[in-house]
């Protein structure tokens, strides 16, 4: 119900929202939880395991119960805490874990079966047979358990990432945080003040108290207004600092548009901030903890501080008649605040025999709540009085306070170990905090408002002093300074189920069982019972569970210890972590210089790393890709083809010692390569495995251009820089990656020279004698455009690669097509490229796969023994030179029209299909239109000695099993006459 007066809500405006199919009204300033309570909705969800009716427990981000599915369609979001949802007009929310309805949930049968659903239930029940897991157990568990459901529709909103820097990051804008920000801000420091709430002020908004003779909330508003005027202070409400990372870096999520129905045009839904702070002050406050008693999970039973927060901040109470159950003085404060707002407090049930009196209500000293009643919401509680008599109180809400835990999360993210503080019966941050981090206020166990203000100011001053700025101590506004008075009391003895962890349905009985079965250590207790898991990470539950375990083991809580807190503090949406990196923007797309031209030719593209390359160029009438590819191959071999090969990595190597450097990088000799010549080169890793292959072209005495495979362009460059800087720091050599700087086209086929003659400017001798195979030169083409020409061939034909500055790439491909028209020049894509290289037996990705040696590739003799080069020594290891090593071979199916699946394994004919009989495998396969047969490359043990043998090629994955014959890998023009023509 909504109270008559008070609250930080705009009563003048009504907004309408929908929960579980019903329409309700609330006010701006409400959360979904406060608005539901105002509408007398106490039942907000069903529990995870037993499907018990549940209402809201807390008023902040620690909420374990009131989880809803918010919004609809692609924006539907499960596990949203109703306490953190700012009400907006048209909001739609559905309860979770309830079917067919919230009031009648079929799976509430689990509650009757609770004797079977105890701790370790999964481990004990779903054990065997193993095949049942996938088919039976997992689907059942997934349906019955789980919190909420996700949408499978794409998220229509965008998420951003941002970077911020500051002198002092203040985390939490309660009294400590506000005072810290004021102190540092007034001193001129760059301050960021972040708070997860949409309204800054922390407990000042939730309590009736005065600061400097004004209402706490008003003082907070005034402080925020002052901070907002400071240009070097950034206020970040709706922003959760969720993790403390290395070197003063903090992760934060700002819910930019979560409080609106849809994000405004151009605005993200959320922003993930990486905050670089010189110093950070954790002012994250404290979280109240419950006391466990029988049936303490009914809607209407909540934390006393939350009951007080709902009344003070939102002017709502779940009921007209309430009671308080406490072991400390703050329970009395809740009762006083409620009475001041006109709520009837039936009694304060205080476990302490020496409980102080309270004006306006009865204090039942030394009493305990032993049970509760009310099927879908609290109706009454049973109290055992100090004298042993029993009394029943008819109340619709019970506020429970078992004391307050400093909010330790962030203080533990960098190995901080909490310490037990007897005085407040809670863990406080330990001495080892992240460098640059300090704690103030309730987060360090200083619970009075005065102490919060004082430690906040002091924390800011200390941080600034650390950074070399002396700041005067501010005049602290006057505020309450009540001592913390608590007598620890964790649970009421009894035989009925009493809940410790509401979100995971962990009861005292489960902890007892864990103890009985030997899972006593806190980390074991957590895993065995699921205490402290899931979305709330046990913020209200952990200590109660530890206290029960401590009792059972006879140890103190300090000895029992606590589980560690890890990031994130509260759940972070994957969308926020992904930011803009989703869909097509997941990673950059690189386009080749001829991309636009190729698109005009209706090319089909394929991803090659980040690149989009033309795969083939279908022509009218071609209905299957093979038709296009076969045509491209045949046309190239018959006349001339052109292919964009820009994606191959290019590294410019210059300097007096360039040749010597390359001689150490490649396993084959490079030092004596003549100017104007190109050489094939093989790079090894230091462990002797082949790293990459390519060509080195010597343009001048001190200038080489090296090519790499497309995939290894970046790793090879990194490797070369490593060698240059770390291994041979005084070689006179400079490197630069020029992959993007040059557009490069392969012209292949017997007519390629004729086409080239029409491009290269006069005076350059292109004849076979003048520019032979493996020649290179800097030339001028198309009347003065500078270019580089290499006579190299991947296709096995007479071929050239012609490179021009990348900006001329588009013009060049169009020019090549124009001058090549007389020869019916044919553009070809990566498929035809692949067919021609397999026909030639050239190694590529399938063979250079990071496990093969030069010897495997039939290139063993390339590894020079006359010099030291990277990988040479270990390539000669015994194990890599075994006599039955794999060797590259060609494979032809006995039936030429049988396709050989890549990845098929090779065995002796008639051998059983088991790993022990494995002789090798197929690495690349295609149809060769020149041979009229399918062909393949593969590795076979002792392959070179097995020419002509017939083997079995089996691919259980594709169901193909056929006979293949071992041949030379050089299917086409094995003597290389064509490329030297």
């Amino acid at each position: 119900m909504r109270l008559q007066h008070g609250g930080q809500i705009d009563r003048g405006q009504k907004i309408s929202f929908r929960f579980d199919g019903q329409y309700y009204k609330g006010h701006p300033g409400d959360t979904l939880a406060s608005a539901l309570l105002a509408n007398d909705v106490r039942l907000m969800g069903r529990s995870f395991k037993y499907h018990r009716p549940r209402g809201v427990l807390a008023a902040g981000s620690e909420e374990p119960n009131a989880l809803v599915e918010l919004r609809t369609g692609g924006r539907q979001e499960p596990n949203t805490r109703a306490t953190m949802v700012e009400l907006f007009d048209g909001l739609q929310a559905m309860p979770q874990n309830a079917w067919p309805s919230l009031r009648f949930d079929a799976l509430a049968i689990n509650d009757r079966l609770s004797n079977f659903l105890t701790a370790g239930f999964y481990y004990k029940t779903f054990m065997w047979p193993a095949v049942f897991w996938e088919k039976l157990y997992e689907p059942i568990i997934r349906r019955a358990a789980g919190l909420g459901s996700i949408t499978t529709r794409p998220d229509p909103d965008s998420y951003d990432k941002g970077y911020l820097h500051c002198d002092l990051l203040v985390i939490g804008a309660g009294p400590a945080g506000l005072m810290a920000a004021l102190t540092a801000g007034r001193a001129g420091a760059r301050v960021i003040l972040a708070d997860e709430d949409f309204r800054m002020g922390g407990r000042l908004n939730a309590d009736r108290q005065t600061i400097a003779d004004m209402a706490g909330a008003d003082w907070a508003a005034q402080a925020v207004a002052e901070l907002a005027q400071m240009p070097h202070v950034r206020l970040m409400p709706r922003c959760t600092v969720f993790g403390a990372f290395d070197h003063g870096i903090y992760g934060a999520v700002e819910r930019v548009s979560d409080h609106l129905a849809t994000p405004p045009e151009g605005k993200p839904r959320q922003t993930l901030w990486r905050i670089y702070s010189k110093r950070a002050l954790v002012c994250a406050g404290a979280i109240e903890r419950p006391i466990a008693f029988a049936n303490n999970d009914r809607p209407g039973i909540m934390l006393a501080g939350a009951l007080r927060a709902y009344a003070n901040r939102w002017a709502v109470s779940p009921a007209q008649d309430v009671a308080i159950f406490t072991n400390n003085d703050t329970g009395h404060r809740s009762a006083a605040d409620l009475m001041a707002l006109g709520v009837h407090v039936a009694a304060v049930i205080d476990t302490r025999p020496d409980a102080p009196p309270l004006a306006g209500t009865e204090v039942l000293a030394g009493a305990q709540v032993t049970d509760s009643a009310g099927r879908l919401g609290l109706r009454a509680v049973t109290v055992r009085l100090g004298n042993g008599q029993s009394r029943k109180l008819s109340v619709g809400a019970l506020g429970v306070s078992g004391g307050w835990n400093p909010n330790l999360g962030l203080t533990c993210h960098q190995r901080g170990r909490p310490l037990w503080d007897e005085g407040i019966a809670a863990f406080i941050p330990g001495a080892t905090l992240a460098p640059g981090m300090a704690v103030a206020g309730a987060a360090m166990g200083q619970f009075s408002t005065h102490a919060a203000l004082a430690t906040g100011a002091e924390g800011a001053r200390a941080a600034l002093a650390d950074l070399g700025h002396n700041t005067p101590a501010p005049d602290l506004p006057r505020a309450e300074d009540a001592p913390t008075r608590i007598t620890p009391f964790w649970h009421v003895a009894g035989t009925k189920r009493a809940w410790l962890d509401f979100q995971n349905d962990v009861t005292i009985k489960d902890v007892k069982l864990a103890h009985q079965e030997g899972f006593e250590a806190v980390e074991h207790l957590k895993r065995y019972t699921t205490l402290g898991m899931a979305t709330d990470q046990g913020k209200t539950a952990n200590l109660g569970g530890l206290a029960v375990m401590a009792e059972l083991t006879g140890q103190s809580i300090a000895q029992t210890g606590t589980t560690m807190f890890r990031p994130p503090y509260t759940p972070v949406a994957l969308g926020a972590l992904a930011g803009r990196s989703s869909g097509r923007d997941f990673r950059p797309t690189r386009l080749t210089p001829s991309h636009h031209w190729a698109r005009e030719q209706s090319a089909v593209f394929v991803e090659a790393g980040l690149w989009l390359r033309a795969q083939y160029f279908p022509r009218a009438g071609e209905s299957h890709w093979r038709e296009s590819v076969d045509r491209e191959v045949l046309a190239t071999r018959a006349s001339v083809g052109v292919c964009d090969v820009t994606t191959l990595g290019k590294v410019d190597v210059q300097g007096r010692d360039a040749a010597e450097f390359l001689n150490r990088i490649y396993c084959n000799g490079m030092a004596k390569l003549a100017v104007g010549r190109v050489r094939y080169g093989l790079m090894l890793r230091e462990d002797g495995i082949v790293f990459d292959d390519g060509t080195a072209a010597r343009l001048a005495e001190d200038h080489f251009v090296v090519t790499t495979t497309t995939a290894n362009a970046v790793p090879v460059f990194r490797h070369m820089e490593f060698a240059r800087q770390c291994l041979w720091p005084d070689l006179d050599v400079q490197l630069i990656s020029t992959t993007e700087a040059w557009a490069q086209f392969a012209l292949a086929g017997p007519k390629s020279r004729a086409v080239l003659e029409r491009l290269v400017d006069g005076g350059f001798d292109l004849s076979n004698a003048g520019f032979p195979f493996m020649a290179c030169a800097e030339v001028s083409i198309c009347n003065g455009c500078r270019a580089r020409l290499f006579r190299i061939s991947f296709s096995g034909e007479l071929a050239y690669e012609l490179a021009v500055p990348a900006r001329y790439g588009d013009a060049l491909i169009r020019k090549i097509m124009e001058v090549g028209a007389d020869y019916d020049i044919t553009p070809y894509g990566t498929e035809a490229l692949g067919v021609m290289r397999i026909e030639k037996g050239h190694a590529a990705g399938g063979e250079l796969n990071g496990t093969t040696t030069a010897r495997n590739l039939g290139l063993g003799r390339m590894v020079s023994t006359a010099k030291d080069s990277i990988g040479a020594v270990l390539s000669r290891r015994e194990g890599l030179a075994a006599p039955d090593g794999l060797e590259l071979v060609g494979l032809r199916p006995v039936n030429p029209q049988s396709q050989i699946p890549a990845g098929a394994h090779l065995l002796a004919q008639g051998a059983a299909l088991v790993a022990a009989n494995d002789l090798g495998h197929v690495t690349a396969s295609c149809y060769s239109p020149n041979l009229g047969s399918y062909i393949a490359l593969g590795f076979v043990k002792n392959g070179a000695a097995r020419m002509g043998e017939t083997l079995r090629a089996a691919s259980p994955l594709t169901g193909v099993d056929l006979e293949v014959q071992i041949t030379s890998p050089h299917f086409y023009d094995p003597e290389g006459e064509r490329l030297r023509a």
């Binding site: 990372f245 290395d246 070197h247 003063g248 870096i249 670089y276 960098q414 190995r415 460098p435 230091e686 462990d687 970046v714 990194r718 820089e721 490593f722 800087q725 770390c726 291994l727 041979w728 720091p729 005084d730 010099k867 030291d868 080069s869 040479a872 020594v873 270990l874 000669r876 290891r877």
Partner: protein, 95 residues
């Protein structure tokens, strides 16, 4: 993490690529006697200290410097960052 680049000042670790132990600088001479054993030790035997560790980071999204970063593997505190080239020279890898 933030790496204090000796030339560029503090840089986010995201700009770097990690390689590993800085002992990779001490590459043996492949032509020397016993090179195979030396390379085996060089490549496969590493210390894995709980504490200060010298390691190689490459400023790939930056100036392409290879750095030797001395980092405490327990706390991630970085106590030193040097140009690997200077370290290599100091270890006698210069001419």
């Amino acid at each position: 993490m933030i790496i204090p680049h000796p030339l560029l000042g503090p840089c986010d670790a995201q700009e770097f690529t990690y390689l590993g132990d800085a002992s990779l600088i001490a590459r043996p001479d492949g032509m020397a006697e016993g090179a195979a054993d030396a390379f085996h030790d060089y490549l496969y035997l590493r210390d894995n200290p709980a504490g200060l560790h010298r390691e190689l980071w490459y400023h790939e999204q930056g100036d392409r410097s290879w750095l030797v970063v001395t980092r405490n593997t327990l706390t991630h505190e970085i106590v030193k960052a040097e140009l690997a080239r200077d370290v290599a020279r100091a270890e006698g890898r210069g001419r």
